[in-house]
């Protein structure tokens, strides 16, 4: 045996690294967990078995449709000037509903600003989400009521909060788990790497759920990474999985597995949900400046709702009456959202001084009084 071939053989053996954790290099084909093909055919994956009843399948379908409807309504409300901004989740419904429905009631979600589908699964009133996009509050809901944290706009910051929350769960000795949502762009932030490190060394029950929607505003994923994002986990010492983010069943099965893995004391998991941002980054964005329409067209064929509907149809799991019922519910939701937003009262400006501190603060009180006196000086004028 020549020295050269020994070296090669030694490299191949890579002692101590289990096969699934080995860095396969950037040319290796990433494995994608899929349970429902774009054509709506059910496939099995031995590592992620999913037993699901027809009723549960219909419930997932309902979630997907209603979430999309809510999102479309918000987009048009922004166009009508009722909202200042909207970040659409179009195309990402399956990633959000699949992972959202994998959570148990005691689990906790830390969203970005796009997780409207997860909010839906956590039973957060859709109108609550619209307050910050209308400009009447900065979030406003009680995060602990539904175990759904406030939207976080500063990219990546919430992944550390999620990790700290998970560290607390470990200290409390309960079997809850946490999901930290973030995007492909966010994967570059130092905060996200730090969250991976903390979660790993403290073996925290947190699932990092990255929706790789291929774009961070105008930047394609290639600006952020040279390897598939799920493989980043290996370097931090925990498992990473790539799942078809437009396949609600795969997202459900993989997230359920990951949450159970985490809650049983095995530490964090990174899930990369491979999906696509079908719309603009937000209503302020113009994607025609940076991405080819052919790309968007190609992803249309992988639509998460179409494929579940195809499956339900093919297997005869839902009838016309069911679909008609969902359609009616969707109309109702649209109406409720429209009317709810239009009748949202403008807040009183003194809210500026509310809740700045939990305990009284002399300067805030002084400025509040100053403001009130000033506003009162316009009696009968434009401020009244």
């Amino acid at each position: 045996m020549t020295v050269k071939s020994t070296a090669r053989a030694r490299k191949k053996a890579a002692p101590g690294v289990p096969d699934n954790l080995r860095n396969k290099g950037k040319d290796a084909q990433p494995e994608l967990v899929q349970l429902l093909t774009p054509e709506g055919e059910r496939v099995e994956n031995p590592e992620f078995p999913l037993v699901i009843t027809p009723e549960e399948l219909r419930a997932l379908y309902r979630d997907l449709v209603l979430v999309r409807r809510f999102d479309a309504e918000a987009t048009s409300l922004q166009r009508q000037g009722e909202l200042g901004l909207w970040a659409s989740l179009l195309g990402q419904e399956a990633a959000q509903v699949g992972s959202g429905r994998a959570m148990r009631p005691g689990d906790y979600a830390f969203p970005t600003y796009r997780e409207h589908g997860v909010a839906w699964c956590r039973d957060v009133d859709p109108l609550n989400l619209l307050g910050m996009f209308r400009g009447v509050n900065h979030g406003g809901w009680d995060p602990n009521e539904k175990n759904f944290h406030l939207y976080t706009i500063v990219i990546g910051a919430q992944t550390l909060h999620a990790t700290g929350y998970a560290m607390g769960i470990t200290k409390d000795g309960t079997d809850d788990a946490v999901i930290a949502y973030f995007g492909d762009g966010a994967s570059s932030q130092g905060d996200v790497s730090e969250a991976f490190t903390f979660a790993s060394v403290y073996n925290s029950p947190v699932v990092f759920f990255c929706q790789n929607n291929q774009w961070a505003i105008s930047e394609p994923t290639t600006v952020q990474t040279r390897i598939p994002l799920y493989r980043r986990a290996l370097g931090f010492g925990f498992p990473g999985v790539r799942v078809d983010g437009n396949d609600v069943l795969a997202c459900l099965a993989v997230t359920r597995w990951a949450l159970d893995h985490a809650r049983s004391g095995n530490g964090p998991v990174l899930i990369e949900a491979f999906t696509y941002r079908m719309g603009a980054h937000t209503t302020s964005d113009d994607p025609t400046r940076y991405r080819p329409t052919e790309e968007t067209e190609a992803w249309k064929a992988k639509d998460p709702i179409t494929r579940l509907k195809a499956y339900l149809d093919r297997e005869g799991l839902a009838d016309e009456a069911f679909f008609a019922g969902i359609e009616a519910e969707s109309e109702e939701l649209g109406l409720r959202v429209r009317e709810g937003v239009r009748s949202m009262p403008d807040p009183d400006p003194t809210l500026i001084f509310d809740h700045v501190y939990a305990e009284p603060h002399a300067l805030v009180e002084e400025e509040r009084a100053e403001y009130e006196a000033y506003a009162a000086s316009f009696e009968g004028g434009e401020n009244n």
Binding site: G84, L85, Y113, G131, M132, F133, R134, G135, V136, N137, H138, I153, V154, I155, G185, A186, S188, Q189, G190, D191, A216, I217, S218, E219, V223, Q224, S284, D285, R289, Y290, D346, P347, D348, P349, L351, I352, F353, V356, H361, L363, V364, E367, Y371, Y374, A375, S377, F378
Partner: protein, 324 residues
């Protein structure tokens, strides 16, 4: 430069000229390439100068700032774009602990010709973190120069001067004025750190910078109808401050009122009021007053008008100053 340019276009032209003049000048930031930045300030520059000079970076502000420092060490002249005011904080450590101190720690052996462009301040109806005025943090940090233009002419010339500076410059762009148009003259007229009297008056001096200069000019115009003559000084530079110009004006009018969007408490106005009191004590007819934001997070957009100083709040302060 012929015709009227918006502030946005003037900045774009200044970047273009800087890239043309010096092959070591680089632009770095999120979405500054094909998109041209979310405010289109870098529009067309990547196409014309290539993606190795107009660089779309990973989404990581500390990374952008830290690597800009490294590039400067290697002889480059990076111009960094931070997408919005509220997103500079991940880079804050690199700015205050590294960028600001590098020249001094190296006893002058290295220079940090890094320009950090930040669209700042409010008034555009944005969501959280997109409307902040954080100039005091930067002005408080020795080693950083801090400037903010209020019109197209200054936007163009001050950005060129900032890029040419061998010190780090925090360049604060008043985002709600990006689309305001003005003439851009053929030469800068002033050095980077000089203030400009933009309206002459006799009864009181309004001191402002960036987005508030326009508000003060409107207030002065309105006051004129009431027979009050207000001087308006555009500070332009927040570190260093052109105290000589301020002193001259305030000694003449006997009253100074500082106007900024940032919270009043511990803001620029506190320093300006203190120094002007020291310099002009025997000339003052009233204490130097401050108009600004409150000691509270920047509010949701539906009530931001109540937070932002406007014509009425400026005139209210003028009344108070004149009533002394």
């Amino acid at each position: 430069m012929a015709g009227q340019l918006s502030i946005a276009k003037a900045l774009n032209e200044a970047l273009r000229k800087s890239l043309e003049n010096d092959p070591k000048t680089l632009l770095m930031g999120e979405d500054i390439g094909k998109l041209g930045g979310v405010f289109r300030i870098t529009d067309g520059l990547q196409k014309d100068f290539g993606d190795d000079r107009v660089i779309d970076t990973p989404l990581a502000e500390s990374g952008i700032m830290g690597t800009a420092i490294g590039l400067a060490l290697r002889g480059y002249r990076p111009v960094v774009e931070i997408q919005f005011d509220g997103f500079v904080y991940p880079a804050f450590d690199q700015i205050v602990s590294q960028l600001a101190k590098m020249h001094s720690r190296a006893l002058g052996h290295v220079k940090m010709p890094v320009t950090v462009r930040i669209p700042y301040a409010g008034g555009i109806g944005a969501v959280e973190h997109h409307s902040e005025s954080h100039e005091a943090y930067f002005a408080h940090t020795a080693g950083l120069r801090v400037v903010s233009p209020s019109n197209a002419h200054d936007a163009y010339w001050m950005l060129r001067q900032a890029i040419e500076s061998d010190d780090p410059v925090i360049f604060l762009e008043p985002k709600r004025r990006y689309w305001d148009k003005g003439e851009v003259g053929d030469s800068a007229g002033l050095s980077l750190h000089e203030a400009r009297v933009v309206r002459q008056g006799a009864d009181a001096t309004l001191i402002a910078y960036g987005p508030m200069v326009k508000v003060c000019l409107e207030a002065a115009a309105a006051a004129e109808e009431d027979g009050r003559s207000l001087e308006v000084v555009d500070l332009r530079s927040l570190s260093p401050v052109d105290f000589d110009a301020l002193e001259q004006s305030v000694k003449r009018t006997g009253r100074g009122i500082v106007v900024h969007e940032a919270p009043v408490f511990m803001g620029m106005g506190a320093e300006l009021a203190a120094r002007l009191t020291e310099r002009c004590f025997y000339h003052l007819e009233a204490p130097v007053l401050r108009v600004g934001g409150y000691h509270a997070p920047y509010p949701p957009s539906r009530v931001e008008e109540a937070f932002l100083p406007d014509l009425d709040r400026v005139l209210d302060a003028v009344d108070r100053a004149l009533a002394f």
